[in-house]
């Protein structure tokens, strides 16, 4: 088990009591329309600084569109949103500089080595050579990738790529990280190790905004929102959602909510 995972969780509870009351994301009536189709329909919600926020929904419910608006990649049609205190309409560059983003499709360069990828992304985020060297060495040790330093990324198993991709997204120590289906197709042990990395990042104070189709992973979030037809149909802790929907697990909560969709075109 990577060293990084060994010490964090005992500190974790102490940290969690310190989840700040301030909000790192605040969205009010946020909306995005494509032609006649309203992909995101007046959503209002906030994400607290330091929490692990699960962002769930069926395919086509509007998750990706909402995430793109919050990460400064897509302008909203109407409504308001502030991310890290910056306005998504006028200060998207400030947002992009300060967040981390890991996409559902693997986002490293396959024909560069592990080390080259770390250097490339570190340089893009403006890390100095000295800091980058130090960070690269530490990262390779943490991930137990020291022997893979010169390995082409295309030769790594998917689970390793995803762990590396996450670490690269965290290189510039962003306060907020968006993870879009980070564990799809990953083996069951690596999938769990990945979540332990998420917890390690959270214990250090980062806020994590995560989408997943694995409902057991929804249980690992501090709070979970579920989108249906462009709206946020439910938002609470996993425990409160299970009580509210009289469900045994998050899968049942999800199925009950998705059944309320009007867009039965699938």
């Amino acid at each position: 088990m990577p060293q990084i995972l060994k010490t964090f969780s005992l500190n974790y509870c102490a940290h969690k009591t310190k989840i700040q009351m301030s909000n790192i994301i605040e969205a009010t009536q946020l909306t995005r329309v494509f032609g006649k189709f309203t992909a995101v329909d007046h959503i209002s919600f906030s994400v607290k600084t330091g929490e692990i926020f699960g962002f769930l929904g069926a395919n086509g419910a509007g998750k990706s569109t909402a995430m793109k608006m919050l990460s400064g990649l897509l302008l909203p049609s109407s409504g308001k949103a502030q991310v890290l205190g910056f306005d998504v309409y006028t200060q998207s560059e400030e947002i992009k500089k300060r967040i981390g983003y890991m996409s559902q499709r693997f986002s490293l360069y396959e024909d560069l080595t592990v080390e080259e990828n770390i250097h490339l992304f570190g340089s893009i985020y403006g890390l100095s050579k000295a800091i980058l060297k130090e960070k690269t060495d530490a990262l390779l040790v943490q991930l137990e990738f020291v022997d893979q330093r010169k390995t082409l990324v295309s030769n790594l198993p998917l689970g390793w790529k995803q762990k590396l991709s996450f670490s690269v997204a965290m290189l510039h120590e962003p306060q907020l990280v968006f993870l879009d289906e980070p564990t799809g197709g990953v083996d069951p042990i690596t999938r769990r190790q990945f979540w332990e990395m998420i917890y390690a990042a959270s214990a250090k104070g980062a806020t994590l905004f995560v989408t997943t189709h694995y409902m057991d992973e929804a249980e690992y979030c501090d709070r979970v929102s579920i989108m249906v037809d462009g709206r946020i149909a439910a938002l609470d802790t996993p425990k409160a959602l299970k009580t509210q929907f009289e469900a045994d697990d998050m899968n049942e909560v999800f199925l009950k909510l998705a059944a309320t969709s009007n867009l039965k075109i699938i």
Partner: protein
């Protein structure tokens, strides 16, 4: 129906072993699942069965036809749905379906009953271009196109990957309908919870079969004594349980953790240890393992 004997396949001049001496027998009418993560070799096995790549060694035959020698015969009798959406994005639903029917020298009308259970969901949108469909609709169209020439064997490579839980459930319900029509279906998935929907499964990892049988057969054979544990601070609990010398393994499983003990160790021993560490209100229960528990155990002992 399918007999796979000692199939090995390597890439990159033998440096990467995709399949390493695989043996599988699949009976007619069976719904057979290849369960394993990305890189386990599932796609390579499908490509061999679909006669698109040849094995380095070993043999595979489908209804007595050899995948290398009798490829032309096999191609007419199978329906193959690759992992990546591979229909024509700028043709409509109807045009895609007509195209695939025509390639096999048949028509939609002739096979309407076969595709109807799935096609009826997307028929109202038949003039919409494939590129403009939602993920769930694309998946249904791809399945219709794989069925339109009345294959006797359906090969489905990760049809539910990246698909939400509702659409996944619907898809498995459709497979049950097709199975009732007598079709033999081989389907791969990285989602362990889908294993239960199959008659028999093979657990694949790094080109090797960890085990194969009915899901119940696999679970019963391994007979893992297993406990679930829950408490107020789940991640502190995970770490503390792992730090106890009596713990063989502990993994997060949604709202509880699943724990295995070393021989001679019991739940009260662990409870006492946790209490000493300041963790109270802990609930430990003996539970029956599921396929994911078995898979993790097989991965763990393999490493």
């Amino acid at each position: 129906m399918i007999s796979i004997k000692n199939i090995t396949k390597t890439y990159r001049d033998g440096k990467l072993t995709a399949l390493d001496g695989i043996n599988i027998e699949i009976a007619e009418g069976e719904l057979f699942g290849l369960i394993g993560p990305d890189g386990a070799g599932k796609t390579t096995l499908f490509r061999i069965l679909a006669t698109l790549v040849q094995p380095d060694s070993g043999t595979a035959d489908i209804a007595g036809a050899d995948v290398v020698r009798d490829y032309a015969l096999i191609r007419r009798s199978i329906g193959y749905m690759p992992g990546r959406f591979s229909l024509y994005q700028d043709l409509s639903i109807l045009e895609n379906l007509e195209f695939f029917a025509a390639v096999f020298g048949t028509t939609i009308a002739e096979n309407y009953e076969r595709i109807k259970p799935i096609y009826s969901h997307i028929e109202p949108f038949k003039n919409r271009r494939a590129g403009q469909l939602s993920g769930g609709m694309k998946q249904k169209l791809a399945l219709c196109c794989a069925l339109v020439h009345r294959p006797t064997l359906l090969l489905l490579d990760e049809p539910t990957t990246g698909v939400d839980p509702v659409s996944r459930q619907e898809f498995w319900d459709m497979l049950q309908l097709l199975k009732q029509q007598g079709l033999t279906i081989v389907v791969s998935t990285p989602y362990m919870d889908e294993a239960r929907r199959c008659d028999r499964i093979a657990l694949l990892q790094k080109g090797q079969i960890l085990d194969q049988d009915s899901p119940e057969g696999i679970i019963n054979r391994h007979a893992l004594p297993l406990y679930s544990i829950q408490g107020p601070h789940m991640f502190a609990l995970l770490e503390t349980v792992r730090s106890w010398p009596g713990t063989l393994s502990c993994f997060a499983f949604g709202e509880s953790h699943h724990v295995r003990f070393h021989d001679g160790m019991t739940a009260p021993h662990l409870e006492a240890y946790l209490k000493k560490k300041g963790l109270e209100n802990i609930e430990i229960k003996a539970i029956a393992p599921d396929i994911e528990d078995i898979f993790i155990e097989l991965l763990r002992t393999q490493n």
